[in-house]
Amino acid sequence: MKQYAYYPGCSLESMATSYNLSTLEVAQTLGVELKEIKDWNCCGATAYFPVDELLAHTLVARNLALAEKDGLSDFVAPCSACYKNAYFTNAYLKKDPDLAEHINYALEADNLHINGTMTVRHLIEVFIEDVGLDEIGKKVTHPLKGLRVAPYYGCQLLRPRKENQNVENPQFFENLLSALGAEAVDYPSKTRCCGGSLIVTNRKAALDMVHILLQDAVNRKADVIATTCPMCNVNLEVYQNQVNREFGTQYSIPVMYFTQLMGVALGIKPAKLGIGKEVVSGEPALAFAY
C-alpha cells in the first residue's frame, strides 16, 4: 500500500471536519494510506501573498520540507487552496535557485531544508489517478442512482494551470461521479469562482458570486452540489441564508464534499462521513442510498 504525506490544512480541523472524516474513511476503504505530516503549519490560504511573497512561500515550504523529511514522495492536500499553494511553491523553487536559497535560509532556523522532491497532488487526483475509476466502481455497494450532482471544481484546483490540465472544460469530476452511479449534471458554472475570502473582505461581491452558482445549480435541477475545497463549501453552504436574505431567494440546496458522496456509495455509515453536520441537511437527498 502506497503511503502519502497528508496535509489536512486548518479548515479540516474546524469548519470542514466532515471533509477530514470522510477523507480518512474513504482512503482507508480504498487502501490509500494517508500519513499526516507532523506539526504542520497553516499554509496561509490567500492571505499571506498580499503581505509578503517570500514569507508566503516559506510557510508553504516548511510543510513540504517536513514531508520530505519523512521520506515520502507525494504530498496530498484536500483543500484546493493548500494544494495550489504547495504546488506552485514546489514548482517555483525548483526553477528558481535564488528563491530556494532564500527559503532554505529561513527554514534552517527550524532545522529544515527543502529540495523540491515532492510531487504535490490534490486528494481527488489520488483517488482518480492512483486508485482508478474502475477500482472505485468495483467497490461501490450503494450506487447513487438518480442522484443529480453538480460537480463544482472552483478555482484553485484548476488554476493557475498545472502542467497540461484542461482548465476550461475538465471532465474528471463528472467521471468520478458517474463511477459512483450518480448523474453528473452539466453545470456551466463549475469552474466559476465562489468569491473565496471576499466573503470576509467584500461580502457583497462574494454573495453575488455565490448567488450565481446556486441559481445555476437550481436551473440544472441538481439535488446536491459537490465540492473539492473547504472554502468553496463554506461559501456555498454556510452563506446560503445570507444569499437568501440579500436576494430574496429561497435556496436550500445541500453542498457536500466529494468524499462524502464517495463514502455513501462505498457503503460507509453517514455519521462516519460527518453527514449531519451540514447547515443545509444533505440527509434527505442521500437517504435513498441506504
Partner: protein, 187 residues
C-alpha cells in the same frame, strides 16, 4: 545619479517570485475584464488597471479598490493571450499599497490580511473566530448579528473548535519567520 523607476518596474519588483510575462506586454485586449467575476465590483476593470500602471498613473491605481476586490481566482491569468499573471499582479498591488500605507479608507482587505498573518505567525495555525473582532470592528452591530447567526449554526454542528490550536515547534517556527519579517524579539 538618480535612476527613476517606472511604476510598472516597481510593481515588477514586488513580484519577485512570480513567473508570468512582464505586465508591459499587455495588449489591452480586455479578455481579463471579460472573464473577471468580480469586475462589476471594481472601480477600474483589470484591463484598465494594467493600462493605468503601464502609463504610470500611480495615484489612481493605489486609490482604486480593484485589487482589493480580486478573489484570486486566476481565471484572467489562464486566459491572458500575453501570458501575464494578472492575479499575481493583483497580489503585488496589495503588497505595494500596504507597504506604502496607501489604500482606500474603510477597506477590510488590508486589516484582514494583516490579522490573518499575525494569527499564523503567533500560533502556526489559523482559527477563524480570531478574525471576528476585526470583522465586527469594520461592520458594526448589524454585521455582528448576521455573523453570529452563521457562526452559531456552525457551533451547534460541532464545526468550530473552542480554542485555537498551536503547533508544537512554535519557537523554532517563529525563528524561521523572523528571518523574513520583523515580528519582535524571541521570548
Amino acid at each position: 545619479m538618480d535612476i527613476e523607476m517606472s511604476f510598472s518596474e516597481e510593481i515588477a519588483n514586488v513580484m519577485y517570485a512570480s513567473h508570468g510575462n512582464p505586465i508591459t506586454d499587455c495588449l489591452q485586449c480586455g479578455t481579463c475584464s471579460g472573464t473577471c467575476p468580480a469586475a462589476e465590483f471594481m472601480d477600474h476593470t483589470p484591463r484598465t488597471i494594467i493600462g493605468l500602471i503601464n502609463a504610470g498613473y500611480k495615484d489612481e491605481v493605489l486609490a482604486s479598490n480593484t485589487f482589493w476586490s480580486c478573489a484570486s481566482c486566476y481565471h484572467c491569468t489562464v486566459r491572458c493571450p500575453a501570458g501575464i499573471d494578472i492575479a499575481d499582479m493583483m497580489y503585488a498591488l496589495k503588497r505595494y499599497s500596504m507597504w506604502k500605507g496607501e489604500h482606500q479608507e474603510g477597506l477590510i482587505g488590508p486589516v484582514f490580511a494583516q490579522s490573518f498573518v499575525k494569527m499564523i505567525v503567533d500560533s502556526g495555525r489559523s482559527y477563524e473566530p480570531l478574525l471576528a473582532p476585526t470583522y465586527i470592528f469594520k461592520n458594526g452591530p448589524r454585521g455582528l448579528v448576521q455573523e453570529m447567526q452563521t457562526a452559531t449554526g456552525l457551533m451547534l454542528k460541532g464545526r468550530l473548535p473552542l480554542l485555537p490550536k498551536k503547533i508544537k515547534g512554535l519557537k523554532k517556527f517563529r525563528n524561521m519567520v523572523r528571518r523574513i519579517i520583523p515580528i519582535g524579539e524571541p521570548t
